[in-house]
Symmetry: D2
Subunit: 387 residues, 4 copies
Amino acid sequence: MTRLNWGLIGGGEASQIGPAHRLGARLDGHFDLVAGALDHRPDAGRRFARELGIDEVRAYGDWREMLAGERERDDRVDLVTVATPNATHYEITRAFLEAGIHVLCEKPMTMNVDDGEHLVRVSRDTGAICAVNYGYSGYALVRQMRAMVTRGDLGRIRVVVAEFSHGHHADAADADNPRVRWRYDPAEAGASAQMADCGIHALHLVSFVTGREVHDLSADFASCIESRVLEDDAMVNFRLDGGTVGRLWTSSVAIGRQHGLTVQVFGEKGGLRWAQEQPNQLFWTPLGGRTQIIERGEAGLSADAERAGRVAIGHAEGMPVAFANIYVDLAEAIAARKAGRTVDPAACLFPTAEDGVRSVAAVHAAVASARDNGAWKDARPPMFKGA
Amino acid sequence: MTRLNWGLIGGGEASQIGPAHRLGARLDGHFDLVAGALDHRPDAGRRFARELGIDEVRAYGDWREMLAGERERDDRVDLVTVATPNATHYEITRAFLEAGIHVLCEKPMTMNVDDGEHLVRVSRDTGAICAVNYGYSGYALVRQMRAMVTRGDLGRIRVVVAEFSHGHHADAADADNPRVRWRYDPAEAGASAQMADCGIHALHLVSFVTGREVHDLSADFASCIESRVLEDDAMVNFRLDGGTVGRLWTSSVAIGRQHGLTVQVFGEKGGLRWAQEQPNQLFWTPLGGRTQIIERGEAGLSADAERAGRVAIGHAEGMPVAFANIYVDLAEAIAARKAGRTVDPAACLFPTAEDGVRSVAAVHAAVASARDNGAWKDARPPMFKGA
Amino acid sequence: MTRLNWGLIGGGEASQIGPAHRLGARLDGHFDLVAGALDHRPDAGRRFARELGIDEVRAYGDWREMLAGERERDDRVDLVTVATPNATHYEITRAFLEAGIHVLCEKPMTMNVDDGEHLVRVSRDTGAICAVNYGYSGYALVRQMRAMVTRGDLGRIRVVVAEFSHGHHADAADADNPRVRWRYDPAEAGASAQMADCGIHALHLVSFVTGREVHDLSADFASCIESRVLEDDAMVNFRLDGGTVGRLWTSSVAIGRQHGLTVQVFGEKGGLRWAQEQPNQLFWTPLGGRTQIIERGEAGLSADAERAGRVAIGHAEGMPVAFANIYVDLAEAIAARKAGRTVDPAACLFPTAEDGVRSVAAVHAAVASARDNGAWKDARPPMFKGA
Amino acid sequence: MTRLNWGLIGGGEASQIGPAHRLGARLDGHFDLVAGALDHRPDAGRRFARELGIDEVRAYGDWREMLAGERERDDRVDLVTVATPNATHYEITRAFLEAGIHVLCEKPMTMNVDDGEHLVRVSRDTGAICAVNYGYSGYALVRQMRAMVTRGDLGRIRVVVAEFSHGHHADAADADNPRVRWRYDPAEAGASAQMADCGIHALHLVSFVTGREVHDLSADFASCIESRVLEDDAMVNFRLDGGTVGRLWTSSVAIGRQHGLTVQVFGEKGGLRWAQEQPNQLFWTPLGGRTQIIERGEAGLSADAERAGRVAIGHAEGMPVAFANIYVDLAEAIAARKAGRTVDPAACLFPTAEDGVRSVAAVHAAVASARDNGAWKDARPPMFKGA
């Protein structure tokens, strides 16, 4: 079994996403957490690292110290996960890639398109993998959707409808709570709030499932709580390469929606519906036929979907397994490189810097469109416009 | 018990909507079908009328004959339902209103805004009721939503999200079937297909539930089957009076959706979700609380919602009852007028010509916006712009 | 269109089931309510009858008066619905049958098996139809289940699982409320409470769907509220003719279940699941295949199921339509007899006195078994034991 | 962070349950897999152990070799998981307990009640923990149910209804497949098939949630496929200590049910419903109130339920996390013993040998009752009858 050395940057004691990464990395036993710079307060980070069983000399005070320490070791980390505040992703990711260390970066990968394009180039130049944690793409039935679209079960895709709406920032009385406020403050969050936080996941899923990129878009943003500058509700109409029509609604004021990440794909020959809150069932309706319930774990799933499942049919699997699948894919790709083997690119399902910069570009195009009264904008990063 | 004389125009043997009107009108026993002009083929119409138990002299060959015959009778029809092809609604409705006969007109009420405004004026001038059959507003729990919004349970409404999407016109091989083709042909259907057919219902529900009208909008239309001129998939972003944000998706190529009419309302203090396919449950989430399932028939519903139910809690009710509720409301209003009583306008929940012209105006604004690349357009009929 | 004269006994102003019968009888226009004895208080009954539009001379003070009045008329009632307290069903039904008037009797048809067998014989001797209102058998998709079982889609039926559980009598503080108390008092309710009230419906559905009768059974009863003598929760294991295994749970203390009438049928070649709270979908899983959602109104349903639907696919239908289907079937059978036509018995889907006595016998067998510690008891009426 | 040495017996390459244990043990990083006897074929077991990263000297050929090897080591395994064929559980578990090594044993813990009682005594005498893997009790919302019952939210519990039904052994053509056949063959499976395989889980959940043990029961078994000796469908009526009524249906021929593990609890003051296929929602209905949806991860869950969750509200968690929670609880208990700390028994939620023998006794009582025509049988192990 592949065993690799893993380092974590950010994801300290109070972090929400840190535990999810540790679960995901550990679930299949491919990654040993051997190094970390877990907190912006060096002492807190070192103490928590030791609590997690990290050796004292590899419990670093910050990422620069970690980079300096690790790059010299023979047993240096094979993969670093970057789970720090958004504005720091670019600098940290770039530095580790330049040192030849593979990176899994939290989303959004960068705060602007230029930085994103730069990471694509650094990754290409150094050969270091730059992966981005669009973790929902790790769900078995999301991969089943992708396989069904790819092999043509739906025919040409006409319309894709995505949602990622919750109500967890709906309380006006809570809007000035610092834990919430920064998300809607351009000084801290950048150009976009809800699109950059949630919509970006749905956009990635759309491209992951259809195999097509967002070409252009028109957006309508709203800030439903007076003190907010950035959007807490957004609708984006878009077209994918090849003309597929796209609709995306994302909101953080939709009281009653807990985590409404849903993808519907409608093609000439059938329709698919999947929702993250019931991730072990996929609803498939062939043209002229009845809706069928595809169960995770059933016989005859695509190879990708089958591989992404762990337990028998009828047993629920959830987000920890989805995250773990990203780590499994990374482990395979890293192990192959270490062994000098070539990996079938089709088997590398983890999102890459290319995916990262595309969705950042789409978010920025949505911001521009919303400011321009919904005018349609090109959503592609400059480096892919010739494509 | 109120018993009134009822006439039906259109709704012949092959009609899909005719049986629904007959069920709805008959369910509570207020209306006796005593006259009809049921088919554009006079003989077929007369024969079918007699099959339905209509007296020979009131089994008319066409609506003009019916108008001439009825207006002279002492026991003339109290209400006429117009369920003919869309392009004829205006002329027929106007003629009966001018004769002082109340009308329930199928949607869309008219093919353009001018005609719609004219019907509003005729109705006002003659005192004859001009109702429009937005039948989904008859569901008990839709009325419960309206009551909850009105009495402030949700606080100020921030966002409304509506859907009306199905997949019944998704088959490209069937697109030239005359039964389907006319819907997407401007010569027969007018300026809009899917918006005028389905989206219009959802727009009405939004206004019915929130008590606010559509002010302006931006639309994105798509025709997913090559031979189609009119849209079969549309997304409309809108603002209601007072600034509520609106999103509406409607499609006829969404394979797997059977009749996806859904309304979600998000306010400062809570969120509501209702779907026509499961109409006897309403999902209510107060801010900071758990989602609660409101059951049709439970104790403590609003007076409107309680009155709209017929059978005990836990027993499903469906569209026939919703339609019947429109007829019940009409029966009350008509009986009151005959008796010289005043009706509390708040109790008159049936949609009127005002509602009819507003939604026609919104559909036409959506057409204009879609042609103009999504530019925002005023969605109000001219007669209500001063308001 | 068939139009018949209809009379109602019981179903007065405060009745819960009366409105459901009036809706059901009226929905398709086959029955005109022309006579009634609606209340055990003669004056109240006459007044309410006149409110419902019944002619003064046919607004009777009690059923005997009604029988005397109607039997002499040329335009006498074709069908009488008996919706009186349970203990009176037998006497009233017998009297009208003996007068040659068709009867639709509420369940339970009789308080004991002897009386039930007697009604079977009276109906056979007089030729008058004795139907029993197991109204849930009128749902389109229940009829679809029956058709699928009959034509062999499921192969031999192995196991049937039925439920009819609600929580509406769970409040101990409300147990002495007269509206509730009588149901659990043997002096008023007879030998059984929950089985006779709800379980009996589920037993009928099992036989309706499988085409097999209950042969023997073992029961476990519980009274969860101290003051109750009769059961408020029961489990019955049974065997159908031919050996199919049956399970039935029924409860009135299941807080949270609103009206949990559910039937599951498992055969050699597939399984079906239907629930009254979502009656427009039927879940069908062929052996080795995926679960499919059968929609009411879809193309290709059985003739019975198609005929039982009224509105287009995706539009909900509920209990009023199910009840109406019983009346439609009765109208056809009565009209055929009046016209001297023979009716295909397969088309007569309404439950008859035979069904009525069988389920009464099964309830009494369950009572005997529960008293005898769950010992297995023959569940058949004596008159059918030779069969 | 607690880190313990873990050994696995059984759970080889072809095992279905082995991967679930490895995921569960690894998820939170408390257990390092350091020793194993993974296959009844010694070479295959050793090879697979090394693939999993186990050191060569601790990759054992069988459990006796493993016991001999481990008992002498200073770094010997802290916990052994026994995931071998059922008939071997007793011997292996006893041997490790006698060596003072903690054990997590797969269910059923033993093949008969005597052996089960003996394991209870060995565990008490040696102080070694004997846990049993009723893994579904690890779900966060199952623990929430338990907490709500314990603190009295439901008042006295009246009725508990459990199901564990699937259709994966419904194919008669597959019944002689050795992979399926052994389960229904008393020579290999013992006295019971479906009850011992699935029903036993549901019985444990009932006791886990209510805090009450099964006192007596009546059972009805069926073998729906001719060649089967043991039951593939069973219904058990039971009473818990204190008189709560219980109903349990379990089946392996219920085509369409994937993994229908469901628990409903009805008390004086409310009802709860939870299903393993949608494990992140719990439906709670207070008496006289609306059904509320309790979400895993929401604020205000019981301490046990909160601790059992890993990711934010709205993100699905599944069986791997449930299993992991059993391991977390074991890690805490073992670490406390190693440190000489006392553990609050209320915090030890993992099922123990007492639980194991009680459910084995209930299964055997069900077998006896089914053979005796449903006669009620005492379901308690002799050692607990005085209690």
